[in-house]
């Protein structure tokens, strides 16, 4: 009993540290790749190839003064970054990182908890993440923040519908909500669900980018109109918590996409956990690539696209898949 608790605690620690390191190095990857795509070289001074840049950034942010403007709602202002940050981390509780393995004679499962509604759990916790942004916008007492928060609410509610519908095709084919079983049925590259649901995948990635407020759907923090949107008034570690939350959300979306469409940790030769990391990194690269390629949408275009294009297409995909599964 005690051993089981200890193993679980160690696993939680490993996953949290891995995710936070992943977030830190996602910023490095983003700056490096974005730099190359814009014909620059990106960070290169701190350490070899600029590899220590995330560490330098983190240290800098910790030592910055934590400014709290005078007309904020203090409690909500302090809570908002945490609310933005925690749900993003929670979704990693049900993501399978690796196959089961033996270590020092103990049987260790490759995920923290195998819920039989794993995918619903992820949608439940990520749907709470919007409160962080909304409350930050509301409590800051600044017009830019408020507008950023309002935009975020409308955007995330609109795209959550398409986001949820885009994975129903996968669930219909897989006939399960458990993340472990989803990986199990996708053994071998020909069994990846992406081949059966290419359209569903396009819907998923589009809605997911909008859900995580990334370019070209980053209206809540559009710097050309809203300074920095909902986190305009934040500084120091509180500011960086929003950023860690955003990157953790991107990682979560990439991990879920990997598990749902690309066979999770399945792959030949290399250890499973490495395959998982490779697939997630490829996903993150697409995120950055899209950011460097597309200009930001206008707000009414964003809403129109969400409700009049993405939502009907997601419904259509669900219906066609259901009919196909029935036949």
């Amino acid at each position: 009993m005690l051993e089981m608790v200890l193993i679980t605690l160690i696993k939680v620690l490993v996953v949290v540290v891995a995710v936070l390191t992943g977030c830190a190095y996602s910023t490095y990857m983003e700056r490096k790749v974005l730099g190359r795509l814009q014909n620059r070289i990106g960070p290169s001074y701190a350490g070899p190839f600029g590899l220590l840049q995330p560490l330098a950034d983190g240290l800098k942010l910790i030592f910055k003064e934590d400014i709290v403007p005078s007309n904020v709602e203090r409690i909500t202002f302090a809570l908002a970054p945490m609310i933005a940050f925690i749900p993003a981390l929670l979704s990693f509780a049900v993501i399978p990182f690796s196959s089961d393995f033996e270590l020092f004679g103990y049987h260790i499962t490759g995920m923290l908890s195998d819920l039989n509604i794993g995918i619903l759990f992820i949608f439940a916790v990520t749907s709470l993440g919007v409160y962080g942004i909304v409350l930050a916008g509301w409590s800051s007492g600044s017009k830019y923040s408020l507008l950023g928060g309002l935009r975020a609410t409308a955007q995330m509610i609109s795209y959550e519908v398409a986001y949820g519908l885009s994975i129903i095709g996968v669930i219909l084919i897989a006939n399960t909500l458990s993340m472990r079983e989803l990986v199990a049925i996708q053994e071998g590259i020909t069994n990846w669900i992406i081949w059966k649901q290419p359209f569903g995948f396009l819907l998923y990635i589009t809605a997911a980018i909008a859900e995580t407020n990334r370019a070209p759907f980053d209206l809540p923090e559009a710097e050309s109109e809203l300074v920095a949107g909902y986190h305009t008034e934040y500084s120091s570690m509180r500011f960086s918590m929003f950023f860690i939350g955003e990157y953790a959300n991107m990682l979560a979306v990439a991990s879920v996409g990997t598990t749902l469409f690309f066979g999770g940790w399945n792959g030949p030769f290399l250890p499973p956990v490495l395959w998982f990391v490779i697939k997630v990194v490829a996903f993150m690269f697409c995120y950055i690539w899209l950011r460097a390629t597309f200009p930001r949408l206008r707000y009414d275009q964003l809403m129109n696209f969400g409700w009049k294009v993405l939502f009907p297409l997601a419904l259509l995909n669900t219906m066609v898949t259901a009919a196909w599964v029935m036949l």
Partner: protein, 194 residues
């Protein structure tokens, strides 16, 4: 105290605490936050009863969607708890709200006492303790066989409500002679931010 009992008591206390704080808050945003706390605790109770799906749906639908809309409306109107919250209402309407809430409490006590605690197996509990009850498969089977017509009727009701809401919103827009359907925020609603 077993772990199960501890989780139950803890989440029950949190749920009731959240609900109480929610109705006693002046600040509407704080009230919504307490409601979310209460909902999460209720979801834990569902999970503990073996109805994992209901727990997840409670969070997705209520905490993740409906309450976000509440917060959205509060932010649009920029309520900050200074508004008239019924203190100046006539005594008769104040008395009415207490009477109605008392009646509701009495009704709940009556229902819970009559159904859950009566009988050897505990009333309602024994009827539905079938295999897979509360799981996704169990709910889906009941929903699409025994309760198919109520389920479909509910969805038609919701659809007509949506259409009604759109019609009413459109009608007001014509009266105000505004030109587009996009959301606009007028300057008055942001006065409190300055």
């Amino acid at each position: 105290m077993t772990l199960d009992m501890f989780i139950f008591v803890f989440s029950a206390i949190v749920a009731v605490f959240g609900a109480t704080m929610m109705i006693s808050q002046r600040n509407p945003v704080a009230a919504v936050l307490y409601l979310i706390v209460s909902l999460v605790a209720q979801a834990v109770l569902y999970v503990q009863l073996g109805s994992v799906f209901m727990g997840a749906v409670l969070i997705i639908v209520y905490a993740g969607a409906i309450l976000v809309l509440f917060v959205f409306v509060i932010m649009m109107l920029n309520l900050r708890g200074k508004e008239d919250l019924g203190d100046n209402s006539p005594p008769i309407s104040r008395a009415t709200k207490y009477i109605i809430s008392m009646l509701m409490v009495a009704e709940f006590v009556f229902i819970v006492h009559g159904s859950v605690f009566s009988g050897p197996g505990g009333g309602m509990l024994e009827a539905e303790t079938v295999a897979g009850f509360g799981s996704v498969e169990g709910i889906a089977k009941l929903l699409f066989t025994r309760y198919l017509y109520p389920f479909e009727l509910t969805s038609i009701l919701l659809l007509s409500a949506v259409v009604g809401a759109v019609v009413m919103a459109k009608r007001r827009e014509i009266h105000e002679q505004s030109d587009s359907g996009s959301v606009s925020i007028d300057n008055d609603s942001n006065e409190g931010v300055k």
